[in-house]
Amino acid sequence: MDAIKYLDPSVQFILFSVLKIVFVFGVTMTAVAYAVLVERKISAWIQDRPGPNRTAPFFVQFIPVLGPWLTRLGIFQPMADGLKFILKEDFTPSYVRTIYFWIAPAIACVPALLTMAVIPFGSQIGGEKMVIADLNVGILYTFGIVSLGVYGIVLAGYASNSKYPFLGSIRSSAQMISYELAMGMSVVPIFMLVGDLNLSSVIGYQADHGWNILKQPVSFIIFLIAAFAETNRLPFDLPESETELVGGYHTEYSSMKFALFFLGEYAAMIAASAMMVTLFLGGWTLPGLSDPASSLLGGLLHILIFGAKMGVFMVIFIWVRWMLPRFRYDQLMDLGWRRFIPLALANILVTALVVAFTNK
């Protein structure tokens, strides 16, 4: 390890950045695969079914006790799913606009992955901060990138050149823009309290003053619900709504292109969970464990704490999907524009007054 210290600082920077990018990308991809499994298992339990419990490579049956147990849990199912997506026929209908049809899935899944770049997923390991890019406008970067996510869906609907995908994409662009406003306004009070847009300082503030969820419960609720709408999850999955629009914007897609939309949705859920953990639940801190780690073990522990908090949100995302029915479109718009935006504005005003009268 000592050899690293003698390297040029810029070489060190590139080396550490590449390592962190590979780590975050790998963990996110694995988390996406297993989030799908968790979704299938939880939905099965809610509906009183066993869920995926057979798939396993042939050699697993020779492992005593552990083998059948892992198979029943469905641990090997994501690998089979991935293989299936790659091997299925990639069918392109004759009437689509080919170029957009090809790039739309890529545009749909890239923004969610890019958002992960500013999330501080741990304190530090050996003096190296556990965040890929510690931007001083962290949150604005996130909103900027998230707002680009809508292009994937809009272009998919346009490229498909048929009714249902088009309706789905029109719905989605209106929905995502509406809820982006509510989401953006809901976090303003947080930054009024913290006094900085940098996500690391948001965590630092929470380590000193307690978690933001206690101080800004209204913000948190608006952000949580807007996150459901932004990731197109039930009860707001109107762009897909398979019972009325067949499959919405991805009706015409098959094989790996369809998988990319799927991956984008789950990566967006992971990114939204990470944002909520960072903004409202103190990031990698726990009461008593909020100092930046000095040892390797402490650093890893902080990353695990962050992962565990994210896991809680992922389960909430999945749980809600299987418990609530879908909203009607006018109800969705009404909730966004007539309830959340005024509520968020009032919250900003109240917080501004409190900050003005208590500080300085």
Binding site: Y100, N136, Y141, S147, L148, L155, S173, L197
Partner: protein, 168 residues
């Protein structure tokens, strides 16, 4: 040897110009959606230029507001309209003339600004932080800021009035 930032500047500047050209005069396609998408790419490349100037706030807001919100609405409208006519339309002398006047006016402003610009002292970096920007907006530029806000409000009320078919 040229600096990395110089290379990045030339890269982003070239991309901005290329995408901007493809947005207004794409030789391969007259599809308005393609033009809109190239405008999005132009905006994103310009955000890259802002980052090279350390104006992170401006870059983020540029992507958030223009690429993320305004252009999505553009796309929304373009996709809802029947565009066959626009794709066939030929250029008229009058519109070309008006376009040339607009370009000349903007170019004039740009050249004047470039000529009157004072180079930054060596080693000094302007940090595009949010706090100084907010302070400047609410002290030095308070009047223009408030006038702009009222202008936006007027536009908003106007849009609501126009989009309501029957007024009660």
């Amino acid at each position: 040897m040229p600096q990395l930032t110089d290379l990045l500047f030339y890269g982003f500047a070239a991309l901005t110009l290329l995408f901007g050209f493809l947005c207004v005069a794409n030789p391969l396609s007259r599809n308005p959606v393609t033009s809109a998408m190239f405008l999005v790419l132009t905006i994103i490349s310009m955000a890259g230029l802002f980052i090279l100037l350390h104006a992170f706030f401006l870059a983020a807001v540029q992507v958030l507001v223009y690429a993320g919100a305004v252009m999505v609405l553009f796309l929304f409208v373009i996709m809802l309209l029947d565009l066959k006519e626009e794709e066939r339309r030929k250029l008229r002398k009058f519109t070309v003339g008006l376009g040339a006047v607009a370009v000349a006016a903007i170019a004039g402003i740009l050249i004047k600004a470039t000529l009157s610009a004072v180079p930054l002292a060596a080693g000094k970096v302007v940090e595009g932080n949010t706090k100084p920007l907010g302070v400047a907006l609410f002290t030095q530029y308070l009047l223009p800021f408030e006038i702009l806000s009222i202008l936006l409000l007027v536009a908003m009320v106007g849009v609501i009035l126009l989009s309501k078919k029957e007024l009660k």
